[in-house]
Symmetry: C2
Subunit: 161 residues, 2 copies
């Protein structure tokens, strides 16, 4: 299990290196917005790549909800070593995925003064979900918000094509 | 094992995203050198972090060779899912670690025309080794070269303090 642990740590360390680097490389007026969007795009491509390998031997999904359940269970477990704690939907194309202990936020210290950095720590994962869904034929917009750290919610809005 | 596989893929995808991003962000005269050095520095910090978690329960090492063996076996396996294939030393502070199928090069297509990109694909790992060694009290310079893809050699020169 120590190999496994270490691999999890590898992802966490790499993820924070990327945030730091993107943050320092994007200078200019709207640097914060650009930083978040760069991270989101990286996540998108990684999500596409991962889901392609991951669903090679998975049977077709029967509907949109079935796809979302797969993201919350199998996909989330593969990346974050736990499932999404709560999935809700309005049955009109909006899904809310709640993670009560989101791995990539546990590195960030708790406290209000760090809340402003939260978007940077969520952007990659928003992209990851959007990329995974996209490769499964579901076009979406994914946003995230922190409630009480390290809990957070990802909102998926399905874009009808 | 599919979770495990996916985690390995996650690292590979993230690694290539970082290379692409750093490559595009570093513009200027000596952009290639700067890109390599940024990647090396990221690897260094990730290596430091990983080894700290990884050697928490490991008994002290008896000498430098013992440390190098640990890097070649346990550390390499945790990151790259295989051991170093060959470790050689001149017993004067130079170690050559050969990996006959280096994971982060298998993504890069074979062929002479891609050889010029190889340094970018090795820089992060050079830093990773240097960071790991550094946290184990061994100061070093780590360089790498590709022989026939995806085989490569990492040369560690110990800096006596």
């Amino acid at each position: 299990t120590s190999v496994f642990m270490s691999n999890e740590a590898l992802f966490q360390f790499l993820h924070s290196e990327i945030i730091q680097y993107v943050n320092s490389a994007e200078t200019g007026e709207s640097e914060n917005g650009r930083c978040v969007s760069k991270l989101e795009n990286m996540g998108f491509r990684v999500g596409q790549g991962l889901i392609e390998r991951f669903t090679k031997d998975t049977p077709r999904f029967k509907d949109e909800l079935d796809v979302m359940k797969f993201i919350c269970k199998d996909f989330w477990t593969s990346v974050f070593k736990k499932q999404i704690d709560n999935l809700r939907t309005n049955h009109q194309g909006i899904y809310v995925l709640q993670d009560n202990k989101f791995r990539l936020l546990t590195q960030l210290s708790a406290g209000k003064q760090y809340m402003e950095h939260a978007p940077k720590f969520l952007a990659f994962t928003c992209g990851l979900v959007r990329g995974a869904l996209s490769n499964l034929g579901v076009k979406s917009i994914v946003t995230a918000e922190v409630s009480v750290m390290p809990a957070c919610k990802f909102q998926v809005m399905i874009q009808k094509m």
